[in-house]
């Protein structure tokens, strides 16, 4: 069974990796924002790994948008990893964030097939 949500913040000032999984929304994305906020202002490269995320809402999109804008202001690009055929990739494409950040989609084998877009 997939956990409802988790966020790990790794790396250092040079390369920050923020990993988010499960269903990420307004109620559980505070840590994501804290990590993103700090990393986007100082790290050389920032990677947000959402390959294990099955859902993101507009709160998460806002965090990504703000971090992406900050990175562009520093002449750098935020990199977001997502899984193919999952809602986060669909949403990121729909809102047109590819002009704000690099979105890389990969095929990911999830343990549980009972989630994802209906």
């Amino acid at each position: 069974m997939v956990e409802s949500a988790w966020i790990d913040i790794n790396g250092d000032d040079k390369e920050a990796v923020i990993v988010g999984g499960g269903a990420l929304d307004l109620t559980n994305s505070t840590d994501l924002w804290k990590g993103l906020s700090r990393a986007s202002e100082s790290a050389e490269s920032v990677v947000v790994d959402l390959r294990q995320a099955v859902f993101i809402d507009t709160a998460v999109l806002e965090h990504l948008a703000k971090a992406g804008r900050t990175m562009i202001g520093r002449n750098k690009r935020l990199k977001v990893l997502t899984a193919l055929d999952q809602q986060p990739l669909y949403v990121l494409k729909t809102v047109g964030f590819s002009s704000l950040m690099d979105i890389v989609a990969e095929k990911v084998d999830f343990q549980d097939d009972n989630y994802g877009p209906g």
């Binding site: 507009t58 809602q87 809102v95 009972n114 989630y115 994802g116």
Partner: protein, 551 residues
């Protein structure tokens, strides 16, 4: 309770010392004066019994003293060769026998002391534990009741009654600060008559004991009230109190909300445990009162903001969208989120432009509440205004993005928007889609097309160029526009209604825009178990039979 017990034991020990000295001096004197003829063994037995009795009654200290005095008495008056009593060598008892007696006395005395001490320790620990349990149970019960209540002022009386019963007090007084009049107002009290209570119904700050406690934020304890010369104690003297403790009701931020005082007519002092219990009770009461005050303020603020946002949203969501404009049928639905009583950021607009054109807008602002409503207002009126000036969806959306990107909010305040202009003369729908959920064009032959985004969401990055696309609609063909409240309707955290749910619903026969809008909303709600977590907006547009006359 434990403190009082310790005081009693201490007093008993001093009495024991006095009795020890008096008894042994008296016994020795009797031996010396009245019965010098008796053998020493006859006097040693009363010594032993005396020491055992003292050991049993008074414990360690007096027993040790008894032994010392006994030893000294024997050596001074019976066994010393320099005393007035005949020397030991001439007595009927030898050194060895006296030594055995003394040793026996010591052993018996110490054994008794140890037994006594051990029993006292066990009793004391048991009493301490019992009292501690009672105190914890009382505080836990009080704490639970204060946590559950929304009106702590109303349950203070019943809680105070339990506390005074536990503390062997007869009176309590609870005053609350009257902010408006800068005085203390009696909330509840016990142990005095109604007439007396009326006399002390209001107190000046800084004048009485309670007034001083409020002013300084520190407790005042007056013990041995009858002997105190403190002029502030006149009232408590008059009602016969012997001990009185008044605690401030200190809110977590340090604000004094009132006082809680306890008085006893039977005790002249309080132990540190008693005072600690009172202080804990006062602190818990103050915390509960502050919680209710803060909750009330928070609710008032929330209600005010909610009211403003509701008013604003009513002004922003057109209430009376005509079912038909220029021969085209239109159906709209808006449903606020049920998850939280906040205003959402979904919006739509339908308006007629010149030359047989219709402006159709649907969008979604990230966030909720008043900030979202303000953002909706800015977006909706910017789009409408630009559309009147330049009926090109790409130009309208590009200008709107510039406007919203320059007006940065926290967080980013981004929003999605699908804006289309339907030309009823050419039967062409031209649209720009700024990151909005792609509307679905439902053809008469049952096929569908998605009107994909033509640019990024609005309000994130300025300098974006939005493109536009066009589709030609045949009479009776429908465009279904919706917000993500439909596609993200969830059975649980992972199962979404999704686009698949929308497509599954669509091919159910030939239905009017009204039927499609209602049916889709119902399908999403049913999927989510009856409640949608996000707010929802739906616009269904159907070309009329008269469109395309200009082609």
């Amino acid at each position: 309770m434990i403190g009082r017990k310790a005081t009693t034991l201490k007093r008993a020990r001093w009495i024991g010392y006095a009795i020890t000295i008096l008894a042994e001096v008296g016994l020795t004197a009797m031996l010396r004066l009245f019965r010098p003829d008796l053998p020493l063994s006859a006097f040693l037995i009363p010594y032993v019994l005396l020491i055992m009795a003292i050991a049993y009654l008074y414990g360690e200290g007096p027993t040790a003293l008894a032994l010392v005095i006994g030893l000294y008495g024997f050596s001074r008056y019976f066994v010393s060769p320099y005393g007035n009593i005949k020397p030991l060598a001439d007595s009927s008892m030898g050194y060895a026998r006296i030594s055995v007696f003394l040793l026996g006395t010591s052993i018996v005395g110490f054994a008794a002391v140890m037994m006594r001490k051990s029993r006292q320790s066990v009793e004391l620990i048991a009493e301490e534990l019992n009292a501690s349990n009672q105190r914890l149970e009382l505080l836990s019960d009080i704490s639970g009741k204060l946590l559950l209540t929304d009106v702590p002022q109303q349950i203070i009386e019943s809680l105070c009654r339990r506390v005074i019963e536990y503390l062997d007090c007869q009176m309590f007084f609870n005053y609350l600060v009257d902010e408006e009049n800068q005085r203390l107002r009696l909330n509840v009290c016990a142990g005095i008559s109604e007439e007396t209570a009326k006399e002390i119904e209001q107190l000046e700050l800084g004048a009485s004991i309670c007034g001083c406690v409020v002013q300084d934020g520190k407790m005042i304890v007056i013990e041995n009230v009858t002997k105190t010369s403190d002029p502030r104690a006149a009232f408590i003297k008059s009602v016969g109190l012997k001990a009185y403790a008044c605690h401030p009701l200190l809110a977590p931020g340090g604000r004094v909300l009132g006082t809680l005082a306890f008085g006893s007519q039977s005790r002249s002092s309080f132990t540190s445990d008693d005072l600690s219990l009172m202080r804990t009770f006062a602190d818990q009461t103050a915390t509960a009162m502050e919680r209710v005050i803060l909750e009330k303020h928070r609710q008032e603020l929330y209600d005010r903001e909610h009211h403003i946002a509701q008013t604003l949203q009513r002004a922003l969501i057109p209430e009376n969208v005509p079912n038909e404009i220029l021969g085209c049928k239109i159906a709209v639905r808006y449903q606020p989120a049920l998850r939280e009583a906040e205003i959402g950021g979904d919006f739509y607009d339908i308006f007629e432009l010149e030359d047989g054109k219709i402006g159709i807008l649907i969008g979604d602002v990230a966030g909720k509440g008043l900030p979202a409503a303000v953002r909706v207002a800015a977006a909706r009126y910017a789009i409408r205004s630009y559309a009147y000036l330049d009926p090109s969806p790409a130009a309208v959306i590009t200008l709107t993005n510039e406007t919203l990107s320059l007006e940065q909010t926290q967080p980013s305040g981004m929003l999605t928007a699908f804006f289309a202009i339907m030309d009823t003369q050419s039967s062409t729908m031209t649209y720009a889609n700024a990151g909005h959920e792609p509307p679905i064009l439902y053809r008469n032959d049952g096929t569908t097309e998605e009107l994909q985004p033509t640019g990024m969401v609005l309000g994130v990055l300025n300098g974006q160029d939005y493109s536009e696309s066009s589709v030609t609609l045949e009479p009776g063909e429908k465009v279904l526009m919706m917000t993500d409240g439909i596609t993200e309707a969830r059975q649980d955290r992972f199962r979404l209604f999704g686009k698949a749910g929308v497509f599954a619903y669509l091919p159910n026969g030939d239905r009017s825009p009204e039927e499609v809008a209602s049916g889709l909303l119902k399908a999403a709600k049913d999927y989510a178990g009856g409640n949608l977590q996000d707010d929802v907006a739906i616009v269904v547009f159907e070309t009329g039979t008269e469109v395309g006359i200009g082609r």
